[in-house]
Amino acid sequence: MNYNPFSLAGKMVFVTGASSGIGRQTAIECSKLGAKVIITARNEERLQETYNNLQGDGHSMVLADLTTSEGLDNIVSVVSELDGIVLCAGRAMTSPFQFNTREKYDDVFNVNFFSPVELLRLLVKKKKIAKGGSVVFVSSVGGVLGFTLGNSIYGASKAAINSTMKFCARELAPKKIRVNSVNPGMVNTPLIKGGTISAEQHQADMERYPLKRYGEPEDIAHGIVYLLSDASSWVTGHSLVIDGGITI
């Protein structure tokens, strides 16, 4: 019984933000399903840790800061024939609207919006994506379906990603490149820890989820695997909500 429509065997998958959280787990799951994985992030030690956990052979890692043009150029020059692109790199920001200066918007949009969009633009322009390729943006329910207090900058960056995802889905369809997003609810990753929200508040928030827990990185990685695999060949422009039911 080798039947597995979700297999990634023979695919080259590129994952940004692979040094922690959803990006790391996605890289590991992709390797377990047979993909050759190229991982990137800024922190060498943590990226190496992800690399050490990849299964199988033929993987590679590239250190790069995707908010700089050097970082983007470096990535684009070393990759080729990508079958899958997972744009995970992102950051959080919790701040009430009256404190949301242009500087804060820039900080978040540079990482969450401009970096992945410019990276994808360069990969398309330089023809680095294989025919039949699949692009997955890691968006959020925040700013798309949920509007939590104090989350307006982060939410706006994710709404912008969702919009761009749909435009790209239409514009890249003639190249047989599919473009989708996953939209997670709260996931247990370093992104949500040690910040402005206390552990106690997280615990109370968790109780609001119909499935009574936050997501784990695997929960999101498995959705991404589906969108990368041939099982989703006819799926493009879709936002796959993975949120324990919080937006119902």
Binding site: T94, S95, P96, Q98, T101, G150, G195, T196, S198, Q201
Partner: protein
């Protein structure tokens, strides 16, 4: 940094609460208007006015306005 000025910045986060209700020894979480959003406002105000990063737990562990003032002062 001055306590008086800090209290003014703290009071500015509220709309319904009269300034006279907020003193150095006020247990701010007992104020009717206190909310999670105002808590986020305190964190943002500390960052904007004093260049100090507070965490959610810092708010949780503080009781009075002066506790917050001392905490921010110690982090400067």
């Amino acid at each position: 940094m001055e306590l008086k000025e800090f209290i003014e910045n703290f009071v500015a986060l509220f709309d319904e609460t009269d300034a006279s209700e907020i003193q150095a020894n006020t247990a701010f979480k007992e104020l009717d208007e206190w909310s999670s959003l105002i808590a986020l406002g305190v964190i943002a105000m500390a960052d904007e006015e004093y260049d100090v990063t507070l965490k959610g737990d810092d708010i949780r562990n503080s009781n009075t306005v002066e506790d917050l003032f001392n905490l921010i002062k110690s982090k400067k």
